[in-house]
């Protein structure tokens, strides 16, 4: 296993009265696509927020690319896509990306590059508010790709996309790892799990498993990843 891009140790997060993560530890390998899977409410987004450094944590530690999460040094090295498309609805696609490129100090040529990467070249002059949910999500993803980050943290990037686009995006993710980029991608769709090098299965804030899809199949004797997940839950109980 190569060096860990992310190391989470005994992470405890409480939001309001609810303990979201009671004490989570995990690692994400550099240059891999790691899938963070789990049902809605399992703590996926909270873990991702802790990794990008915007989540208040009670105890434990999160190290990212050799720095504590949230360090100023990391801010130009992480691309983060939130679950809700965090782009300005009353600006055009191009204006959004130019704005974020300025904030990130990225060259304006990066705007054309990322529009190509998410197949949105034809939408540059369109207002984001007039786009569909999937198109908005792609604009949000494009913004995360602007600075060619070392780590991409993507919260459900493929929700609502048609199968062809989903396949294209996963090809893009793998292409990025060839340049050493690490990706952590959350999803609640099990059929995307097969495209990941490693999987983190999360349920009710605890880690059920951390292994490659092939290894999980071998361990549980199940072929379908949905069954694998069920099997792992049963083992716990």
């Amino acid at each position: 296993m190569r060096a860990a891009a992310i190391t989470v140790a005994d992470l405890r997060v409480v939001r309001g009265d609810a303990v979201v993560l009671p004490g989570l530890s995990c690692e994400v390998e550099t240059g891999s696509v790691t899938g963070l899977l789990g049902p809605s409410g399992s703590g996926k987004s909270t873990l991702l927020r802790a990794i990008v450094g915007v989540q208040k944590i009670v105890s434990g530690s999160v190290d990212v690319l050799g720095h504590p999460a949230g360090s100023a040094d990391l801010r130009s090295r992480i691309g983060y896509m939130t679950q809700a498309p965090s782009v300005y609805g009353d600006l055009t696609v191009g204006e959004n990306l130019v704005f974020f490129a300025r904030v990130l100090d990225a060259p304006l040529t990066a705007v054309d590059r990322v529009l190509g990467e998410v197949s949105m070249e034809d939408f540059r002059r369109r207002l984001v508010n007039r786009l569909s949910g999937g198109q908005r999500a792609r604009v949000s993803l494009a913004a995360a790709l602007l600075a060619e980050p070392d780590l991409l943290v993507l919260d459900e990037p493929t929700v609502g996309l048609d199968p062809v686009l989903r396949r294209d995006l996963w090809e893009l993710f793998h292409h990025l790892t060839e340049h050493g980029t690490t990706l952590l991608v959350s999803s609640h769709v099990m059929d995307e799990a097969d495209r990941c090098h490693a999987l983190l299965l999360l349920r009710e804030g605890t880690l059920l498993a951390h292994a490659s899809p092939a290894e999980l199949r071998r361990r549980t004797g199940k072929d379908n990843l949905e069954d694998v997940f069920l099997r792992l839950i049963e083992e716990r109980v």
């Binding site: 915007v54 208040k56 949230g70 801010r75 992480i78 965090s86 300005y88 204006e95 904030v103 990130l104």
Partner: protein
């Protein structure tokens, strides 16, 4: 931010048009040559930008907080003061347009006469707008929905308007009310404009007014930046 507004012509029309209509109403209500219009007209040129900018900023900033764009910006190499200052500058630009149009209308067509220099009226009106927008930015931290944000207008702005000296001259107020009025920034903004209208800008109080308004803007920016948290619960 400015390009956001550019795409929203209705908001622009409201920001610039509403104060113009209100000024016309004010003039018609009291009459062109009435001492009341001549007296309150000048400070009104500052009050309108203060109110509109307070509202526009608190709602825009709330949208930024709830849409996730603020969270994204917080993961980027950007200082918190950049965000606040960026908003301050963007709204100041809008305020320049608003204050200029309303002042031209009032001083030209409506026959408002200002004893002090006219450009000073515009500068003070812009300062009022910036004060309004920095306060709006600060209070937006305490609102969770747009309904709440709009309610901060009567809660934060109206008491200041009641006590700033517009309705009752401050030296005729009950002592405790006057004491409160000293603590409210709009009091000084109002007083500065009133003194410009009455040509009392060489008065030491005018200098104090300007200092307090500037200080309040700086304080509101600092408080606003402090409410922007990188980490949230």
């Amino acid at each position: 931010m400015v390009s956001q507004l550019r795409r929203d012509p209705r908001t622009i029309a409201l920001i610039v048009g509403v104060p113009c209509v209100l000024m016309v109403l004010l003039q018609q209500l009291f009459g062109r040559h009435s001492p009341v219009f001549q007296e309150v007209g000048t400070p009104m040129l500052g009050l309108f930008p203060f109110i509109t900018m307070f509202l526009v900023t608190s709602v825009t900033m709330l949208r930024e907080r709830t849409s996730g764009t603020l969270e994204r910006l917080m993961t980027m190499p950007l200082h918190k003061i950049d965000i606040v200052a960026g908003y301050g500058i963007a709204f100041a630009l809008v305020a320049v347009v608003q204050a200029t149009v309303v002042s031209l209308l009032a001083l030209g067509l409506l026959g408002l006469s200002v004893a002090g220099p006219n450009w000073l009226v515009v500068v003070l009106a812009v300062a009022n707008a910036v004060l309004g927008s920095t306060l709006g930015l600060f209070v937006s931290a305490f609102a969770e929905t747009e309904f709440q944000a709009v309610q901060f207008m009567p809660a934060v702005v109206l008491p200041q308007i009641l006590l700033c000296g517009l309705f009752v001259a401050r030296d005729q107020m009950a002592t405790w009310l006057r004491a409160i009025s000293y603590a409210l920034p709009l009091t000084y903004a109002y007083d500065a404009l009133a003194r410009t209208g009455a040509d009392e800008i060489n008065d030491v109080w005018f200098a104090i007014d300007c200092l307090v308004v500037t200080g309040s803007i700086v304080l509101a920016i600092a408080l606003g930046a402090a409410t922007l948290r990188r980490r949230t619960a």
